[in-house]
């Protein structure tokens, strides 16, 4: 990749992406965030832009955006940003960690981010602006929708489909050939064994907490 990029955000997810950009030796023009990235030593050498409007000074033909806005259930900030800047004519980088294992027969749409240790198997596809987060697994022939967040440690078995805006919570699992409709939240630790209708949320059974003797 010879493009120059602008990183959007300065939180935890943005910091992991920044490390990936550095590893890929991509030219980083700066980061855009309401406040400077105080917590992350690695941001300090990059120029800080405070406002989204600052992005407009960059030529959409020569710079690409990296969506570093994290994804939490019920928060549309990340998806909205992507949509708005696509309408304005900007492009987003598809970014794959050097430590991820992506099949050469898998398909990643624009703006997909595949983090360290994640695996995407033969014949799978992932829709635009989705995150395949640290150490998660997307098995063969899955069709993952756009604006999905597959949180760390998730396992999605073969031939699963998800529609847009699905959140797979930390450590959740999905068995093979399941369909998950749009706007679903798969709660952390849940195991999905049946299709899930749109706009649903899945909770695992509660844990019990006792004082140790």
């Amino acid at each position: 990749m010879s493009d120059s990029v602008l990183l959007i955000g300065s939180g935890g997810h943005a910091s992991v992406l920044l490390e990936m950009l550095i590893e890929h030796k991509i030219n980083i023009m700066g980061y855009v965030s309401p406040s400077p990235a105080s917590n992350h030593m690695l941001f300090s050498q990059y120029r800080w832009y405070q406002n989204d409007e600052d992005i407009l000074q960059f030529d959409k033909a020569t710079i690409k955006l990296v969506n570093g806005i994290g994804s939490l259930p019920g928060n549309t900030l990340r998806a909205d940003f992507y949509t708005n800047y696509k309408i304005l004519g900007y492009s987003f980088v598809t970014l794959v960690s050097k430590d991820a294992g992506v099949s050469r027969y898998a398909t990643l749409d624009e703006g997909v981010q595949v983090m360290r240790g994640a695996i995407i198997q033969t014949g799978a596809s992932v829709g635009y602006n989705s995150i395949v987060n640290t150490g998660s697994i997307v098995e063969h022939d899955c069709s993952i929708g756009s604006n999905n967040h597959i949180a760390p440690g998730v396992t999605i078995s073969g031939q699963v489909t998800s529609q847009k805006n699905v959140h797979f919570g930390t450590g959740s699992s999905v068995i093979q050939s399941i369909n998950i409709n749009e706007n679903v939240i798969v709660g952390a630790g849940s195991t999905i064994t049946k299709d899930v209708e749109e706009n649903c949320i899945c909770f695992p059974a509660r844990i019990t907490i006792k004082v140790r003797k």
Copy 2:
């Protein structure tokens, strides 16, 4: 490996194996499947054999088989194929993904398949025709039986033993030093903390699904 191989099956599991064979630059003579592999672009350049009987035209001294039949709980097709063609004198390839992490002090029997991101630690052994699927973990000194399927995202702690025909479902976990007897199904998402008798099935607690407000 300088052998030529024949791939059995054309479904999702077979497609992941085919990608591994290509990566290993193994000479692929074709695949055997009741119907041609319509869904998988990567099969198209290989010769299709429709009937199991077609295998018999290949010399068992110069060709090895790759068992691409997937493994689902309660389905013996994969195990039966292995047994039948061993009786006929054929051998099966033991296949390890370049992206798997297998200890040099682990032992894999004939026909074991270790998929991308899977880990097998020091002193562990895996019995014939078993699958250690994508991103699953077999810890130190485990003794995994034959015809086991360790599904994606499974974690098996140290010194666990399993007998033949055990299915570890997606995302399940087993704590250390557990014994799992033959023909057990560990349901997806289950956590096993006690020994399991033969012919049992383990279910995790149910999840709750609600409509989001």
Copy 3:
């Protein structure tokens, strides 16, 4: 690393560490264990020292210790050994598997052990004598305390903090920004979605086991 080391222990955890030491081509002076390591072929070429007192014959300026004592909930043997030999002036090796994925912006204290396939993301830190075991995930900006054991297959989301002596059981998960206080046991397979007070133990919901028909 050009130091010579002495390995403490000869059980399963010690055997995995020994393989890592061999891979790193570290000079191994021997192992210390009440009984010789009968089960592990790979120990046989190293000198056996039976008593902890044997350690004292080694110069603390030129030799480092590798704490191969495993960590089980409620057992302080591993932590006690570390404390005692630090008081005597010895140092402990921080050991990272070549197959682990540790961010260059993460911090590992003395004696931390990161096993095969484990991932530690940008901005995370791990306290002294802790184990990040096989295939476990420590996400960005986590602060893991000392003497923690993160068992195989655990997922700890971003910005989680743990205090000292926490055990994360096999396959457990923790969502983002949780605080886990000292001496907590997160039971295998638990999903933690709220802060946990000190000296508590968390159990997942029970599984159901039935005989297959």
